[in-house]
Symmetry: C2
Subunit: 410 residues, 2 copies
């Protein structure tokens, strides 16, 4: 594509106005919004207000006067449309891992006669760790069965209690067919839990139409809530009141301030909340969600697909000589909003690329990964990133010894 | 006491300089720091830096460049001296309720042959809910035995798996003898979990000398980390590596960024962490902990005792005619840094008092509760509060109908 072609794509982008809502550093092409979303401009002012005007002035009264107590439900209700969930079905709380643990303990309790948790090797490891921890804790012989991503469908049978998958593979970007797999799970009498960490905000998710029983997801990737932002959990409304939460805490109680001695869960998704809500994190996430107001998720999906297609085309045209191999599905409908390549010396290559101003990330064993947050990434960014990647490879910029040294967080 | 006596107490207060570290609203006497600590001046600037300079500029690189990844251990190590814990034994993460759940599942797994969780009716209800949720989830017939506070010692026998107590009663302020009860629990072969929500920052806690097996506590009370701040968990160093965490997540893994499929917990207290750390909340708590630098905890305990004694004396001298009855131990050594009274129409009285500028809180069924955060409460505040309470009772200011209407959060 010529520069003029690229400029025309950006000029015609219906989401182009969103970029101004983000505070992006100069000289950086940020293709890691699938790991940590960029800073929305609304966040700093919101946090200042929460700290100085609310906490500082209202003190304890902020729980009522600034409705801090309602943040888990309120922020959940703002995430709900992004995942096709109805109001009252989604709450923002805790971490994705802990929400997965809540969903899994609840699902296993609803299928007491079954012993298998089915997942795949493309799942983010923390979900697998959660399942291992739960299985060991329950000590009832639950078996975590991990198959290859394309073997999942065939592995669903009547031994399965719970199908637990991340919709979009964190390494390859490969995307499962949530409705089809859930349907198959239900036909076999199993429940489904979907981790939407790399889905929510990347394309329209439809937990309602897809009949997902539980979904969890992340506040700090495409939702831009900041590092370690509160996560979310969705429970199908016709199932939630059948759940006796294993994670029982006062915020999930029907009358938290009656200080009753016995746990009595409130109706609805709020019963999945446990401890005191993290107000600073929830307020930042709430402010970040402003960037989604009025956004057509079909436009998001279309742009995600087009950005990825463009990146694949540009990288393959430019970097063919350097041993890169596409690790993501070539078909945009089969992937999330990210593109990954197998790359020899991938860790050092990514370090060099970051030094050149293109931020992606590396995933073991040899994956260089690029995410395209459709709200703030331009077509020009993607084309420039491919050019800079070519230059880094051609000039072997990755050979600096310091780039071989692993950082604590990769 | 005369005004001059009170002024002399404040003039001689070795902690008097701490108050300037807090941003307290004008016209308010804040006696609810045991529910939500006041705003330390250091927090706003720290959050600005984390948001704008770190998240905004460094983006994903903040995990390494600003050492976000180390915050749970780093903040834990700053809390450790407040509870008598060695470095590496305490981490800041999640909520108190969830940390209690981690401690309880770990403790029960260490005592598989025993079936009783012993607690008391003075425990904060969420801890009891956690125990009920865990017992129901495990479904192995665990019995949560809740006795009166003064019956705890006598109820410890060889059926007890875990003694789970909050050191300071949230209503009365009555304080358990942690070393003595833990010793008794150990003699009976039981483990102990201490909830230090109303202890940490109120007086010197000694989990090491007291031989506590686990402790959890709250970041937003005396530690002033802000509404819903991350909590903490301590595990006795000689026990921690024997724990196979039921709450297994990538942050507790020995090599989180190797993305191994099998959970392999890291050595030490970090294995009690689960999901991605909440950076905004941890940074605020970290900044708040600056107020504790160089503080002599014996001076904190002495001031807490003196403030409480003064308040009891002033209230009893002034309010004897209005049916108030001390709900807290009269002996300062037997209570935390709070004083409570049974009070007819207590809810409305507290609402009226708040309208008059004295912020305490109400706890069911009839308790008006006043906390004295020794870092920022003056003797003059306590004397003034008693005077204002007297005036509110004498003038029956609580009779306004709107004060009878319960707020969502009490």
């Amino acid at each position: 594509m010529t520069d003029a072609d690229i400029a025309a794509l950006d000029a015609a982008d219906p989401l182009a106005d969103r970029r101004a809502l983000f505070d992006l550093p100069d000289g950086v092409i940020y293709l890691d919004g699938n790991s940590l979303g960029a800073l929305p401009r609304s966040v700093a002012a919101r946090l200042r207000g929460v700290v100085s005007d609310q906490w500082g002035e209202q003190l304890i009264r902020g729980w009522n006067d600034s409705a801090w107590i309602d943040l888990p439900a309120r922020v959940g209700d703002r995430i709900a449309p992004l995942i096709g969930a109805p109001p009252g079905s989604t709450v923002a709380c805790d971490s994705t891992s802990l929400n997965m643990m809540k969903a899994l303990t609840a699902a296993l309790a609803l299928r007491p006669e079954r012993g298998v948790i089915l997942s795949d090797s493309g799942n983010f490891p923390t979900d697998l760790y959660v399942a291992q921890g739960v299985a060991a804790m329950l000590d009832r012989g639950h078996d975590l069965r991990v198959v290859l991503p394309d073997e999942v469908s065939g592995a669903i049978d009547e031994s399965i209690a719970v199908l637990m998958l991340t919709e979009v593979d964190y390494r390859t970007g490969g995307r499962h067919d949530m409705p089809a797999l859930t349907k198959r799970a239900h036909a076999a009498g199993a429940l489904s839990i979907w981790d939407l960490a790399h889905s929510a905000g990347a394309f329209p998710v439809d937990v309602t139409g897809g009949r997902a029983d539980f979904a969890v997801g992340c506040g700090y990737k495409y939702l831009n809530g900041g590092p370690g932002a509160p996560a979310f959990i969705y429970v199908r409304p016709d199932r939630v009141n059948a759940i006796a939460p294993a994670h029982a805490g006062w915020m999930g109680h029907a009358a938290p301030f009656a200080f009753e001695q016995d746990y009595r869960p409130v109706d609805g998704a709020l019963r999945m909340t446990v401890g005191t809500p993290p107000v600073l994190g929830l307020a930042a996430l709430d402010a970040a969600l402003d960037a989604w107001d009025g956004v057509d998720l079909r436009a998001v999906a279309a742009k995600a697909a087009a950005l990825g297609d463009l990146f694949i085309a540009e990288v393959e045209a430019r970097c063919d000589a350097f041993g890169l191999k596409l690790a993501s599905p070539r078909d945009a409908h089969a992937r999330g909003s990210q593109v990954s390549f197998h790359c020899p010396e991938g860790y050092a290559v990514m370090r060099a690329l970051i030094a050149e101003g293109v931020i992606g990330d590396f995933r073991e064993p040899d994956i260089i990964r690029f995410g395209f947050a459709p709200l703030y990434i331009r077509y020009a960014d993607v084309a420039d990133a491919a050019r800079i990647l070519e230059r880094a490879l051609r000039n072997e910029l990755w050979r600096k010894p310091e780039y071989a040294v692993r950082a604590k967080v990769t």
